[in-house]
Amino acid sequence: MSTNRVVTDIKQVTVRFSGDSGDGMQLSGTLFSTLSAIFGNEISTFPDFPAEIRAPQGSLHGVSGFQVRIGAKDVYNSGDKTDVLVAMNPSALKVNAQHLKKGSIVIYDNDSFKKRDLDKAKFETEDPFKELNLNHIQAIGVDITSLTKASLENSGLENKDILRSKNMFALGIVCWLFNRPLEIADQLLEQKFGKKPKLVEANIKALTDGYNYGDNIQLTATTYKIDVVECGKGFYMDVNGNTATAYGLVAAAEKAGVQLFLGSYPITPATDILHELTKRKDFGVKALQMEDEIAGITSAIGASFAGCLAATSTSGPGLSLKSEALGLAVMTELPLVVIDVQRSGPSTGMPTKSEQTDLRQALYGRNGESPLVVLAATSPTDCFDSAFEASKIALEHMTPVILLTDGYIANGSAAWRIPEMEDYPEINPPYVEKYYKGNAEDWKPFLRNEETDVRYWGIPGTPEYMHRVGGLEKDRFTGVISSNPENHQFMIDTRQNKIERIADFIPEQKVMGDEDADTLIVGWGGTYGHLLETALHLQDSGKKVAFTQFRHILPLPKNTHDLLKGYKKVIVAEQNSGQFAAYLSAKFQDLSNIRKFNRIEGQPFKVSELAREFTKIMEEE
């Protein structure tokens, strides 16, 4: 390989692979991000794909993209705009044109930029770049399709399989551009297609030929090198939010010494949690694909009654279907983890697009006074910690916990330092035979621990503690059906207190930034990376801002009120129309400093827009 070429050092770069939903762009993107992570870069990925499995070829609505931002450090999100776009067809170019930075590189497949391809993308002229006013970019046409065909001519593969390797040729070019070692990619391909040696060989060949092609003809004047910065010692892997969520449940079950049970029903974008847990039979996990969303949660409630760490995974429409059963879990005071991977709504909405519009549903979406715990994971890797904590709270406080993640962090991935499980706290469910101090014959199913208001867990199979639970209001001690007015008030208050007391068991809310800042930027859940970068950017430009991201939504950390009232302005930024802001305002009615920023486009926040809009709010009188 040639060595006398210009190599420019850069701190970060954002690359987007884009093509038809059948073009293998998700695979190219995943491989590129994984190999960059292994190489020692920080990564943040954003798979952005349509709901259709195979939309008509070359069409605008069939464009599937995978964006990855890689850098030496400070990669907090997948990036606003792209430095490099790989466009496998004109539609991919058109859809992504608005996200191109000035001076960005577009590598496109000459073979699929012919007249009929341009027609499919509804271009009116033969120069798509000019038509899109892309004057300040470097457009590099490569005959990707024909070069791939030539590369794999003697591979023994059928034509359709050869064509499917185009994505590897394109990936090879990108690897060359960023001086990525191919050895790691080869290993990854071997793992991916291990059972089909012919495919491994072909993919590696296309990849290598793509790399060499770039090198031989010096496709660009310069290639790029991204520094590797020393991160903490240890073992790492890249993980997406859904997998991390599944792992968090497995780790919590192991810690608590209980069986893990998942009752679920396939729904985008949550299904990968079901997939992962059905694989985890090595840990004895029982993960059931039930007949519907309701059976998903009710089978989990049954398993919880029978002594499992029980969970159900879903997205917004599924959570709606589970509402009644959630109330049953509240009423019977059984542990349950409900994972809502939020997607665009209302109704079916935009299944593959992300937003934060289920907060109200999680907080209030049930009949009656029905308090439960709500947590929100802040990043792909935080899904692990959040799922672990959700399990711990559910098991120790005998309550359903809704864990909100979202499509962005669920499908996005980041490098994750494999945790030492000793660093995680113990989980001690309140088993009646272990923690109840009296005689078995004096025990009643709704006797509580006075400190926590938590009832004891008597599990079927345990002699002497037979009892009945149910959805009807019950006597405060015996659990026998009761419609006594005072008893009902007492039970309403007790169920509420039980949840509020959990605030004693969660950490205080921490703030990043100046102590004397005028403005506090507030977010919750999966927008952490974008808001953090925005806050850092504003601080760098001399603004007095601080930043905090909430993971504990209900109950809120105990210092929340004190914290919020300390700032002149509190900007609550959310991908909904102000649900968390309204929640905070209702809770702390003395606060008049809350401002809102809301954007609901089904796309991640853009740091540039956030910085601009926050500045405006800060400058307002």
Binding site: A37, L188, A306, A310, D442, P445, P460, M466, V469, G470
Partner: protein
Amino acid sequence: MSTVETKNIDVSGIKYQKYMPKDYKSPNPIRWCPGCGDYAILTCLQKALAELNVDPHNTAVISGIGCSSRLPYYMNTYGFHSIHGRASAIATGVKVANPNLSVWVATGDGDSLAIGGNHFIHTIRRNVDINILLFNNKIYGLTKGQYSPTSERGFVSKSSPYGTVEDPFRPAELTFGARGTFFGRALDVDMKNQVDTLVEAAKHKGTSVVEILQNCVIFNDGIHNKISDRNWKADNTIVLKQGEKMLFGKDNEKGIVLDGWNLKAVTIGDDGYTLEDVLVHDAETQDNTLHLKLALMDTSDGMPVALGVIRSVEAPTYERDYENQIAEVQKKTPKRSFRDFLLDSPNVWEVK
């Protein structure tokens, strides 16, 4: 909270507990209407459990919503009175979580065949080893008298003042459509057959559906009179017994015979029919064609209603196969901690 009074029996020097029906009775006051058929069903379940001698603490009774679903409160076992229609999904979770429990579902025609229809059929299809007691009174009692999915076409009720214009489900047909492996039927007041059928249901490995023809004394009194009335019962019902001739009538003078593709009730000695012609019941044959025909026999066609175990065939149960799959995977995979599992995953790299 609840104590069990048992008799200690000494058999050949080994002492074991023999439970009595009262060991399954909870102290909770029973709140069904006086004269309700549910009382008899409760008693039969307690008798059956005593006969099976299953530990109360290893028994879970799960219910949905409706009059029938109050039953768990009256049992000195683990119990769960849940929400409308979901009992069999909850019971699935209980049984899969702990296959050693004896799991019972108390449900009604509204609970399982209307709002919970989906869970009912899928539980049966999976063949989870639970016992479903389907109380069929052909009416909604707890909401005070609306027609149910088993009410006959034309049935007049509060929500069908001019009669219904829809056909009912026949629970057996639905069960067989879902590939059910066990179907039995009993009359609420017929304690002997009911206890026997419940015992057989419990012994059967897989989902057992027992349709219990139950009388709602308030809103649908006498709906099963044609078969429960002392005067007609002998002629209008037949208790099927495995391996025995299908005989009925006061003096067993009648029998069921095959007539072409159909079943026919005959009097032995009439029209040249002899005892030889009478069918022998085989609940254990895989083919459910005759089981269905037996289950659908109705007095309106001049046939007796079949009671007892109509179908009981062997098939793998869901929760055991699930356990087996786990065992197989674990046999192939070395036991390791969660961290070790992660370290063994593909794409792990070390920063030194």
